[in-house]
């Protein structure tokens, strides 16, 4: 059964999503356990696949027994394996942590919520593992459709409008990606990534391949909320329900950064992207703009959740800028930052989910005196904040270290300055919240339990996953050296300097 791991990762959650949907009509209480079981098996398969890839190099899997250019084939290498482990672990942790919020918010529809949640995670894992460009488009559509629905369940007056805006901009992005594939298909005649890569070199200088590259990149950057195309993200993530935000925020944009890396490494091949086209400098400068604007916009926010969404926009600038530096340090920093940023964002949004579960309000004025009331949640929030700033023991520091040294080696001092500027702004952002939460007394009106002076901590099932994630911030930070050498270094193709 082990050689079936690549397909089991995607089909087991898919089958269990249909079972959950059936169960939501028959026996609602069984929905959560089946979802837990499904994501548990896919975590197990993802880790098993990562070890198989570590010793076999590349794992191939042909759907329906057909050879690659004719059928759909999976070609799983270390980058896929790493992404699969990240996506499945974050999804499983979030499923456990937000169980009480989901049951509380959607009393009679939580069966359907879990079906959409498992379909969303299946789409993301399918994107992370597929080796076929059109299959990636279909999975992109599943992920986006379930994300539209999950986001629209939030605050009744703002969430549907934010979700509809996300529908428009997301559809433009997906259609640009589809156009890019169409241009590749008309020039090469194939849809398999490895096959296109072997057919492209003779026609590198044709105009159609250039336009295909531009449209694919614009489509992916729209779905990734890269700075000029990020207008949908803040509203969508702020007004979405907490259980949905804390799974969409850490994963959706990071998987799209993976798609960009996969397109450059396996479809257009690095020497086309970096040497034939001279756009790596443009991308790095756009990334600097993204980092600076993301940090400045985060400064001007009154709501803690909106502030975190703008931090995501600037983190996307880290990854895109780091990747397009073009040297080994920058690229390994970008890939490591995908892992670190996923854990950081999950930790921060779970903490915000706990706060809003207890206090219902998320504006700064309501966070007064939270350290005495919710010490564990605020401790985890501070750990996430330190990692966002880049304080050594946490993982945020190490990926920033790789990015900055990559920027110096590549001579992109603008990018390095943007990184330092954003770290300083993060310091201001997080210490402002710590100062509000620590020094100012708590107002009586928003103490929901009415017990004077006592701790109103979130329930245990929400706290334990949060603590696990906060501890994993430090553990991943300490082992980031080994992660880079064993997992990330062999990913980078030889041609990179």
């Amino acid at each position: 059964m082990t050689h079936n791991f690549p397909v089991l990762i995607v089909t087991v959650p898919l089958l269990s999503a249909f079972i959950i949907s059936g169960l939501s009509w028959v026996k609602k209480s069984l929905c959560f356990p089946v979802a837990l079981l499904a994501l548990g098996t896919s975590v197990f398969c993802a880790i098993g696949l990562l070890f198989r890839v570590l010793d076999l190099g590349v794992v191939e899997y042909h759907m329906g027994g057909w050879m690659p250019p004719w059928g759909i084939a999976y070609r799983v290498d270390l980058l896929n394996g790493l992404m699969l482990v990240i996506v499945s672990l974050v999804a499983l942790t979030n499923l456990v942590a937000t169980h009480r919020t989901v049951v509380a918010d959607f009393p009679e529809k939580h069966g359907t919520f879990y079906t959409l949640y498992v379909l969303f995670v299946t789409g993301l894992m399918g994107i992370s593992v597929t080796g076929d460009v059109f299959n990636l488009y279909v999975l992109l559509e599943i992920t986006s459709l379930t994300a539209y629905a999950l986001i629209a369940l939030g605050q009744p007056d703002r969430a549907p409008l934010a979700s509809l805006n996300y529908v428009f901009i997301g559809t433009i992005g997906a259609c640009f990606y589809l156009l890019g594939i169409g241009y590749l298909y008309i020039m090469t005649g194939s849809l398999n990534m490895a096959d296109i890569a072997s057919l492209l070199p003779p026609i590198y200088h044709s105009k159609a391949v250039l336009v295909a590259f531009i449209f694919c990149m614009v489509g992916v950057c729209t779905k990734m909320a890269f700075f000029p195309l990020h207008v949908w993200l803040p509203n969508a993530y702020t007004y979405a329900p907490d259980a949905a935000t804390s799974v969409i925020a850490p994963l959706m944009t990071k998987v799209m950064v993976y798609v960009m890396i996969r397109l450059v490494f396996s479809v257009f091949l690095p020497d086309f992207s970096f040497h034939v086209l001279h756009i790596s400098h443009a991308f790095v400068w756009l990334a600097c703009l993204a980092i600076v604007m993301g940090s400045l916009l985060a400064l001007s926010q009154k709501n803690i959740k909106t502030m975190l969404t703008y931090i995501i926009v600037s983190e996307i600038g880290y990854m895109v800028g780091g990747f397009w530096l073009g040297n080994r340090l920058g690229m390994s920093g970008a890939i490591l930052h995908i892992l670190n940023d996923a854990i950081m964002t999950l930790c921060l949004f779970l903490a915000v989910g706990n706060i809003s579960y207890k206090i219902r309000e998320l504006d700064f004025v309501h966070l007064k005196g939270l350290f005495r009331k919710m010490p564990i949640t605020m401790a985890a929030f501070v750990a996430g904040g330190l990692s966002a700033i880049g304080v050594p023991p946490t993982c945020g520091f190490f990926s920033k270290w790789y990015l900055i040294s990559g920027a110096i080696q590549a001579g992109q001092y603008g990018f390095m300055l943007a990184l330092l500027f954003s770290s300083l702004v993060n310091v201001v952002l997080f210490f402002r919240i710590i100062e509000i939460a620590y020094f100012e007394p708590m107002e009586p009106h928003n103490d929901t339990t009415g017990l004077k002076g006592s701790i109103i901590e979130a329930p245990l099932t929400m706290l334990v996953p949060l603590l696990i994630v906060a501890v994993s911030l430090v553990v991943v930070g300490i082992y980031s050296g080994d992660i880079v050498t064993t997992l990330i270094a062999p990913i980078l193709p030889k041609g990179i300097g």
């Binding site: 059109f134 279909v138 559509e141 459709l145 539209y148 629905a149 629209a152 009744p156 007056d157 703002r158 549907p160 409008l161 979700s163 509809l164 529908v167 428009f168 559809t171 433009i172 259609c175 589809l178 156009l179 169409g182 298909y185 008309i186 849809l191």
Partner: protein, 132 residues
Amino acid sequence: MDVLIHHIIGKYNYWLYTILMMIGLYAMIAKNNLIKKLVGMNIFQTAIILFYVSIACKKGATIPIIEEHGGSVAGHAIRVADYINPLPHVLMLTAIVVSVSTFGVALALAVKIYQKYKTLEEDEILMRLRDK
């Protein structure tokens, strides 16, 4: 000059699909009514489907269904130039189904927005948001 004419005559189909796509994209961005934006989105998606279908065309080829001449089809090889390229058709079945699903979900969202704001005009909704 004749190169340009050659380009236009040889590929008029691609020119017309681009015009359709531009109409759809413009409607999505510039229209004020939410449902009009949805119509623009659907026109944009059908234009891309038209592009893929025009890739599949072959002059002098028939529809991609193989007529069985008597029992033994394998007796003589099937000439490829007789049949249209079936692969883009398969891709476009998926794209049509995806566009209808997105259309359905977006209409559900529009109905939900109308329940709350009693209007579908973007500027009126933003005004009521600002009053809150």
